[in-house]
């Protein structure tokens, strides 16, 4: 639905989104970033601003609360980000209750992402959706292609396999009112072999919520393939953090390949 030719039938001006993901702990961006000066400053806000300048359509901050447990620094970071950014952003990691959710929204986050708690307490999806609207809740589905050929769902940052059927789980999170699915193919994560286009192709054009593809991006063509396969948005971390590509370069490639994306003046 994001190709400019409109052969797909549905007339829509909606753009495919490119979303950098920032892992944050103790108020610092963690995990392999090449932006040394920003890392040394321990400043996710500065990195977020850089990505916004590059043309990021949205940002996702992960693990922010898990890392501070009960402290206010995560909320303070969210507040700073909200004051500095003029694009939407989601926060996730360690959200356990509706009260946690409220605090993050109150601090200025646009969306929350749930992973472990979505599985452990799925009613929380309904509660958030009812109170704040489905657009405010992203469910992060970590799926792994097991050796036996099955698709397994994982929680706790990909460390714990849970007894949940993948296809049922996708339907359930939609039924419970999530607005987007952040689909991370764990078997692709870090491999640089591209997003899992087979998984993405299972979501048809009339699937009721947007799907963000995550895991496996190595270069611009991977983003294009994911969108062609059916992703509404594409998320990556390492490729941006290691400065292999800027967000702008990815978007330029998509534009040159006739995909509707938001243009920004550099």
């Amino acid at each position: 639905m994001y190709a400019n030719d409109e052969s797909s039938g549905t007339v829509s001006d909606l753009c495919a989104r490119v979303i950098p993901c920032l892992d944050v702990a103790y108020g610092r961006v963690v995990k392999g970033t090449n932006f040394k000066e920003l890392l040394d400053m321990g400043n996710p806000v500065e990195l977020a601003k850089l990505y916004e300048q590059q043309g990021a359509d949205e940002l996702v901050f992960l693990d922010i609360k898990a890392s501070v447990d009960g402290q206010d620094s995560a909320l303070e970071m969210v507040r700073q980000v909200a004051c500095e950014l003029s694009i939407p952003f989601a926060v996730g990691g360690g959200i356990k209750t509706l009260d946690d959710v409220h605090k993050f929204f109150h601090a200025g986050a646009d969306k929350v992402t749930l992973n472990t708690m979505a599985v452990e307490k799925p009613a929380l999806i309904n509660e958030i959706s009812t109170q704040y609207g489905s657009q405010s809740i992203v469910v992060a589905v970590d799926v792994n292609h097991e050796i036996d050929g099955n698709l397994a769902i994982y929680t706790h940052g990909g460390s714990r396999r849970v007894d949940v059927d993948y296809h049922q789980w996708i339907n359930e999170v939609v039924d419970r009112g999530c607005g987007e699915i952040l689909l991370t193919a764990m078997h692709k994560d870090g491999t640089g072999s591209g997003f899992d286009t087979d998984l993405l192709a299972q979501f048809g054009a009339d699937f009721p919520v947007q799907v963000i593809a995550s895991g496996g991006a190595k270069g611009p063509s991977d983003f294009l393939d994911a969108i062609h396969a059916g992703a509404d948005a594409v998320l990556a971390a390492g490729l941006f953090h290691r400065s292999e590509y800027t967000v702008g370069e990815i978007k330029e490639y998509l534009i040159n390949n006739n995909i509707k994306v938001r243009k920004t003046t550099p």
């Binding site: 007339v11 001006d13 909200a82 004051c83 950014l85 200025g108 657009q135 987007e180 938001r262 003046t265």
Partner: protein, 235 residues
């Protein structure tokens, strides 16, 4: 006359209808160089105290209207507009400027514009994300650059609304008109439309009649274009 020296700091008030976080909007208005106040209830003095009222709205149409009615804003807003003062409605805050919405058919809107909100027909609803605005009218063209196909018309369009709407160095500071939307309902027809988009149906992204402005999208989340638009309507 130099437009920068003529302009005084405009006094802007955000109407807090207890429907969502205001931080981004507050930041954007302050960044635009305006004197900002956030208000819960109307007061006649406001007619002299403020130049611009900004009314963001999130949630159901009925909820936002109830907040407007319960806090006494209904009559005040009508008087505000009657006095030719500037009012800017954002998201559901734009929708309530109209007569009603299919979301809550029994609830009357402010009726400042004729027409009703209809549900989006797209399978992925609410619409969440960025879209390029089209059919930009002069007040939007002051900030957004026209699409390639509309390029040839912009010269005459932009000059027609000089004066207080003009931006210094306007030609250099125009931005690609991509806006961030979060909505399930929208106004599909309005003679005062100033920008449109398609999402299965065509709907009004922005409307304007005199000093009455409506944005269906979130300018405070719409990047540099949105920031400039806020500056444009608040100054």
């Amino acid at each position: 006359m130099n437009i920068l020296t003529r302009r005084t700091l405009s006094r802007v008030a955000i109407i807090d209808l207890n429907s969502g976080n205001l931080l981004s909007l507050q930041t954007a208005i302050e960044a635009a160089g305006c004197e900002l106040t956030t208000v819960q209830k109307p007061d006649r003095k406001m007619l002299n105290e403020f130049d611009v009222l900004v009314m963001p709205g999130q949630g159901r149409f009925a909820y936002v209207m109830q907040q407007i009615n319960d806090s006494g804003w209904h009559d005040f807003l009508l008087e505000w507009v009657r006095n030719g003062k500037r009012l800017v409605g954002i998201c559901v805050g734009m929708q309530v400027l109209f007569e009603g919405s299919d979301e809550d058919p029994e609830v009357a809107g402010l009726g400042l514009f004729k027409g009703r909100c209809h549900k989006l027909q797209h399978p992925k609803t609410p619409m969440v994300g960025w879209a390029k605005l089209s059919g930009l009218k002069p007040s939007m063209l002051a900030v957004g650059s026209p699409g390639e196909s509309e390029q040839h018309t912009n010269k005459t369009d932009t000059s027609s609304e000089a004066g207080f709407l003009a931006q210094p160095k306007r030609r250099e500071t125009r931005f690609d008109a991509y806006a961030y939307f979060v909505n399930s309902y929208a106004i599909t027809e309005c003679p005062f439309v100033t920008a449109k988009i398609n999402y299965c149906n065509s709907f009004c992204a922005a409307v304007q009649r005199g000093n009455l402005y409506g944005f269906q999208f979130h300018p405070e989340k719409s990047g540099q274009f949105g920031r400039e638009l806020i500056k444009h309507v608040c100054q």
